[in-house]
């Protein structure tokens, strides 16, 4: 029997690249947490636990022609679409060079035309209709682009989720609604959020498939997303994907998750930490050696050091620039 990745047509190099992205996301998050704790930056949103979901989805896309409308946890996704570690550091330090917003938005509010990443806001779910608009434009212009948009399971209860999905369903648009179900919307657990059991159950309401992926297994996410991309490019319309994950850290650096869940529950979840799961797979298939692992880590460390230093030294935008870009400038 062929190994899972061989069935998916993924080479060892590609797997290592995936692992590198996952680890980069994780380590970036860890670094930001340290920076926040030491008072150097104000705020972080964690991606920990969701790296497989994000990287698996990212690798299914063609970053040269596809579009991304991400949500605030998507470090793994935006890295693959082009954000550099330095970009991410500019953002948490609120520096002028932050490509998302020039330091205007909170960290996690990704965007950047050059990265084919659509500017996002805080009110959850609003990005879905935008993604659908991009997909409509692609269809109208006969382009091959597919749009990937992501959100949390809590956000699937917003009206915009419903309206966006339905619009896409009616017009069979090339868009993928990718839900990272991490079991919590801040403190509110899945069963208090959703009337139904799975987010994927909602696809049928819009006439397209709703598919569950094991969000802790990057290869499973990749598989499911790849199928959705194929459908979309073939003109068969949208797919709703639910990647079942778990948020390993508090909601943001402002949150205290011990008010609403137990240490034990979190520890239990860590047994399926997506990085661990993938590392084990890679080791079992002789793709990752301890030595290689160390060198990848080292590389990322260096990258993070450089990025942090660059961002720390970089300037804020000038105060009066706050008045700019409300409207087009002549």
């Amino acid at each position: 029997m062929a190994a899972k990745h061989e069935e998916l047509g993924l080479s060892a190099e590609q797997l290592l690249e995936m692992y590198q992205y996952m680890l980069s996301a994780r380590m970036t998050d860890e670094r930001m947490t340290l920076l926040q704790r030491s008072g150097k930056i104000n705020f972080t949103v964690s991606c920990q636990g969701q790296e497989a979901a994000q990287v698996g989805a990212a690798f299914a896309m063609d970053t040269a022609i596809d579009w991304l409308a991400p949500y605030y946890r998507d470090i793994g996704l935006v890295l693959r679409f082009g954000h550099t570690l330095t970009d991410l550091m500019y953002s948490v330090f609120a520096r002028e060079e932050d490509p998302n917003s020039g330091g205007r938005q909170l960290p996690g509010h990704f965007g950047g035309k050059k990265y084919r990443t659509i500017t996002g806001s805080s009110p959850v779910g609003t990005q879905l209709p935008h993604a659908v608009g991009f997909a409509l434009a692609a269809k109208m212009r006969g382009e091959q682009s597919v749009v990937l948009t992501t959100l949390g399971e809590g956000a699937t209860n917003q009206g915009d989720f419903h309206e966006g999905c339905n619009f896409a369903g009616v017009h069979k648009l090339p868009v993928i609604f990718f839900c990272e179900n991490n079991q919590y919307a801040i403190s509110v657990s899945l069963k208090m959020q959703l009337g139904c059991e799975n987010v994927a159950d909602r696809g049928v309401a819009y006439g397209f498939p709703g598919v569950i992926a094991d969000g802790m297994d990057v290869l499973d996410v990749y598989r499911v997303c790849k199928e959705a991309v194929t459908r979309a490019r073939a003109g068969e319309g949208p797919t709703l994907i639910e990647a079942k994950t778990y948020r390993l850290k508090p909601h943001t650096s402002d949150d205290d998750d011990m008010r609403y869940r137990t240490k034990e529950e979190v520890e239990e979840a860590k047994k399926r930490d997506p990085i661990l799961v993938f590392r084990t797979y890679l080791a079992e298939h002789g793709i990752l050696t301890p030595f290689l692992e160390e060198s990848i880590k080292k590389q990322i460390e260096i990258g993070l050091d450089e990025a942090t230093a660059a961002a720390e030294q970089a300037a804020f935008a000038p105060p009066e620039s706050a008045e700019r870009f409300v409207y087009a400038e002549q």
């Binding site: 509010h109 609003t126 209709p129 434009a137 109208m140 309206e163 339905n166 087009a328």
Partner: protein
């Protein structure tokens, strides 16, 4: 130049711009086969096809949200909200998204969307088919809001709105649709967003207004002229940006100011006009700044006598003008 009704001017603008620019398309409820419930888009689906005149599901937030997305992708969507009263489900998309996309992305992205919405009363539309919504949006930086009162302005400004690189809320007083006629050039032309128009020159009192009320004010000014009172009438046309310079000049000209709008007074557009004057040229005034507006009730009732009670008329306005002139 042909004589066109207000609504024909709207259709003309859409037609001209769709013919000139492939990236312009229309989306909204019943805009296709039905041609819009007021026929603003009549004939366009036949001419430009289903892809460019899109009948959408009944969901305003998606209509605006999808338009926003398509506009960021480089198209020029014109979204129709069937009645301005139904724009509120899309409020989040307009205020949190459209108005902030350029700002929040530090000029990386922009959102050249046009949102058309028929508003206003006097058509037996009752509480939810008669509302004025301008005051609920005009506080929002990043948005532009226009509400022309004549066919000529409607066409020129709608084309300008479609070409504008930022989101424009284009408000059409539905009572103007068939009531107001005027000369309209056949070809494409634009008028500047943000400019007020003096609709009548005068020396005794200055009146600021917009939309349907412009016509009522003109009628009232005619009446007053017979009594030798001359009215300087400014049609704002654009609510945001507001033509501050034109306001100050016109207020200084007579020193007596009346602001007229159909919408209720408290926190309405008139409040800002008044505040601009009180800030910029208070000592040029010879009388308190008056506002003549709809009553402080949530909306216009259906029952004809109650609707009439709500509505301003040329005679109510004339009375108010006369009082101010006498002051």
């Amino acid at each position: 130049m042909a004589i066109r009704t207000y609504i024909q001017a709207i259709t003309d603008a859409l037609d001209v711009e769709m013919a000139l620019d492939d990236s312009v398309f229309i989306l909204g409820e019943d805009v296709g086969k039905r041609g819009g419930v007021f026929s603003a888009t009549a004939g366009l689906i036949e001419k430009y096809g289903e892809e460019r005149v899109l009948d959408t599901p009944l969901s305003e937030s998606a209509i605006v949200g999808v338009a926003i997305g398509a506009s960021m992708a480089g198209l020029k969507p014109v979204a129709e909200i069937q009645f301005a009263d139904f724009i509120f489900p899309a409020y989040n998309q307009i205020v949190s998204e459209a108005a902030r996309i350029r700002y929040r992305s530090n000029n990386d992205w922009n959102c050249p969307v046009t949102i058309r919405a028929p508003y206003g009363g006097g058509v037996h539309g009752a509480l939810y088919h008669s509302q004025s919504v301008e005051a609920l949006f005009y506080h929002v930086p990043g948005l532009k809001i226009v509400t022309p009162s004549t066919p000529y302005e409607a066409k020129g400004l709608l084309i300008a709105a479609i070409r504008d690189p930022d989101p424009v809320l284009f408000l059409e007083h539905k009572k103007c649709y068939r009531l107001v006629k005027g000369e309209v050039p056949d070809d494409d032309y634009t008028l500047p967003i943000g400019k007020a128009n003096v609709k009548r020159e005068g020396d005794d009192i200055t009146v600021f207004t917009y939309g349907l009320m412009t016509h009522y004010c003109l009628e009232a000014a005619d009446v007053l002229a017979k009594d030798g009172i001359s009215v300087h009438l400014v049609d704002l046309v654009s609510i945001r940006p507001m033509d501050q310079q034109a306001i100050v000049e016109a207020a200084e000209r007579t020193g007596k100011v009346l602001i007229v709008h159909e919408d209720n007074k408290f926190g309405g557009v008139g409040a800002e006009i008044s505040a601009i004057i009180a800030e910029e040229c208070l000592f040029s005034l010879d009388a308190p700044i008056r506002r003549l507006c709809g009553p402080e009730i949530p909306a216009m009732p259906f029952s004809p006598p109650l609707e009439k009670y709500y509505l301003l008329s040329a005679s109510k306005i004339a009375e108010s003008m006369r009082e101010l002139a006498r002051y």
